[in-house]
Amino acid sequence: MSGLPGFASPAPGFDEPLELLEACHGRIEAQLATLERLLAHLGSHGCDAAAREASAAVMRYFDGAGQLHHQDEDQDLFPLLRELAARARRSEIAAVIDGLEREHASMHAMWGRLRKGLQAVSGGEPRLDAEEVARFAWLYRRHIREEAAAVLPFAREALSAQQRAGLGERMAARRRIAA
């Protein structure tokens, strides 16, 4: 799996899709930390080679693996969980999922703006909006916390082995297409 986009370093396999999604959260956090360090670095060093490299790495992640992660959730995990939550009469889970889906859309819009700044940095122009970085990082971190607190525990409780296998297969297929 190491050759697949979004999973460059060792991670759980597609036979453990929920663990894999959780591992993605750790990688997202690492990218957010890079983004924040980049901002500080630009203030002290300007658009040097390290800044351009970090900027390119963050773009690569959120353009690729980050998008795939959202697709895993929006297209596969959330619809499945919404259905299971309705059956189990867990309306609070459905409400959290609605909120998380909405946040994916917000993060997508924020990323579009942030990306322009990163592109400028890659081109040697230190034009990264600190306010945009602060909002993006805060929203992403809260989003991850909510998923970890409510959605993943419910998924572990509610998904059958067969459903987990199906989810893992779709995630793998998505990355084969993207590769």
Partner: protein
């Protein structure tokens, strides 16, 4: 670099930029009121206050010391305001007209932050207010009416934020949560782009 530091580095004269902005509005009718952005009037007020503070810092003695303390406390606070607390107010006019659209859901990232950090923001105001009282005393002792007026204006600005602007920003989020129907990600993306 944060926006106010950038402004300081560029040496922007707030009054000048204010005049330019007003001229722009005169030429172009009005700025967009469908975006999550700080209303121009507030941005100009922040710039003017910042400009005056920079001037006070260049004075000497206790006046300058007190101004520097205000600046030190104000800088990170304003950065948070400009990132999270004030941009939701840019939607007020549109919402008052009844124009709510799915893309506005992005404002929850701002208003949820403000709700979660409201106590901290108010606590920071208390520290800033104490520093402003010192500045006010220094301005009175130095018989500098322009700085007395400035400190009083800034004190009232903090009150305005606590009593009106922060609650209004939070209400923008609360209102939209009630107003916007539940929408799936695909629909929201279409509206949010």
């Amino acid at each position: 670099m944060n926006s106010s530091a950038a402004r300081r580095e560029r040496g922007v004269d707030a009054r000048q930029s204010g005049r330019e902005a007003l001229r722009y509005l005169g030429e172009h009718g009005k700025e967009s009121d469908m975006s999550i952005d700080i209303p121009q009037a507030l941005r100009l007020e922040h710039e003017e206050l910042h400009h005056f503070l920079v001037r006070a810092e260049s004075e000497s003695g206790e006046l300058a010391e007190a101004a520097r303390l205000v600046a030190r406390l104000l800088e990170p606070h304003v950065r948070k305001e400009e990132a999270f607390a004030l941009p939701p107010l840019g939607l007020l006019r549109a919402l008052a007209r009844g124009d709510a659209e799915p893309g506005m859901a992005e404002v929850f990232a701002y208003t949820d932050w403000l709700k979660a950090h409201l106590k901290d923001m108010v606590a920071e105001h208390h520290a800033i207010t104490a520093a402003l009282e010192r500045l006010l005393a220094a301005a009175r002792a130095a018989e500098r009416p322009e700085y007395i007026e400035f400190a009083e204006k800034l004190l009232n600005h903090a009150r305005l934020e606590e009593e009106v602007l922060y609650p209004a920003a939070i209400l923008v989020g609360e209102f939209l949560r009630m107003k916007l129907p539940r929408m799936r990600a695909a629909e929201l993306r279409m509206g949010g782009r």
